[in-house]
Amino acid sequence: MKFLKYITILSISTLLFSCSQNGKRLPFLGEMQTIDRMEGGKLVIDTFYQTIPNFSFVNQDSVVINNDSLKNSIYIADFFFTSCPSICPIMSKNMLSVYKKYKRNNEVRFLSHTIDPKHDTIPVLKKYANKLGVEGTQWSFLLGNRDTVYNIARHGYMNYAQENADIPGGVEHSGYFILVDKDRRIRGAYDGTDKQQVENLTNDIDILLNEYKSVKK
């Protein structure tokens, strides 16, 4: 009987092991921290990956979106503004193609933060979303205090958003799409103006969704 139990444990662990070997996993981006601790006289090293800090913004329908609203979803974040003449239309077009692919799958959500809150009020964001053909809250266009948004861009998403009077539109920012998992960890960053990289993003979304399917917690 004991023998059978060992066999069972062995086969289950082989199964688990082979699962994690076969299923491709995405890397963790950002800073990593390890904390050593003693457990039962043994050294245990815990690894912590950079996570997106707490936030709370409102979207185009005046709905509050915070970390809690996203706890069962992976999401893609970017930074834009509605009157942006440079890279935003292309980014929106590319994001739209990803959105269309996962439309109505609430496990995949989209957060576009405006970096021009003075101009991009809720009605302006609503109109932008409508004209883009976006309905519901799966894709939220977020309004927040300017400094808070810049801060989360820089320190949370390792992104870059900075005003620059030299370029048309007056606000320059990076065109990155950031992929975040259900545990707020950054799993990928893609140039939102580059078709190939946006294709990589959709592949990675599938891989990430799969991680949650195979590793039941």
Binding site: S83, P85, S86, I87, P89, I90, S92, K93, L96, Y128, N130, K131, L132, G133, P168
Partner: protein
């Protein structure tokens, strides 16, 4: 025989001049078109996209040949002074804002307009510099 030679020579000359002019026109068109294509990529394609299809209801496509024909005289003004109007393109209404593009010389606008009015399904021939200069005096 000598009496025939002069008219013959004259006719030949006319033909040569004609062919040459014709050739010069196509060369000019081709050079406008290819510089126009590069200018389009730098100044317009981030909004109107490489394929001229625009973006949903936000940015109109450049594929409405009738609109471009009917508004031919205003196109240069649209570029230089921007456009903030309610327009119907391919049956859809657009009420966006196109910012003014103040960095372009009239000759560059002629090349750009030659490009867009002969791409994306349009086929309207060269857009002359003189046309741009004349139309720019009439912007309102």
């Amino acid at each position: 025989m000598r009496r025939l030679l002069l008219p013959f020579f004259f006719c030949g000359l006319v033909i040569i001049i004609f062919l040459n002019a014709c050739n010069e026109e196509t060369i000019k068109y081709q050079s406008y078109y290819s510089s126009g294509s590069a200018l389009y990529k730098t100044h317009c394609s981030n909004c109107h996209m490489d394929d001229g299809e625009g973006l949903e209801a936000l940015i109109p496509p450049l594929t409405d040949t009738t609109f471009l024909k009917n508004n031919r005289e205003k196109l240069a003004c649209f570029i230089v002074y921007g456009l903030k109007d309610t327009i119907v393109i391919n049956g859809k209404t657009y009420d966006g804002v196109m910012p003014a593009e103040t960095h372009l010389a009239p000759i560059e606008i002629a090349k750009l307009l030659t490009y867009i009015t002969n791409t994306f399904g349009n086929n309207q021939g060269i857009y002359e510099l003189s046309e741009v200069e004349k139309n720019l005096r009439k912007c309102d």
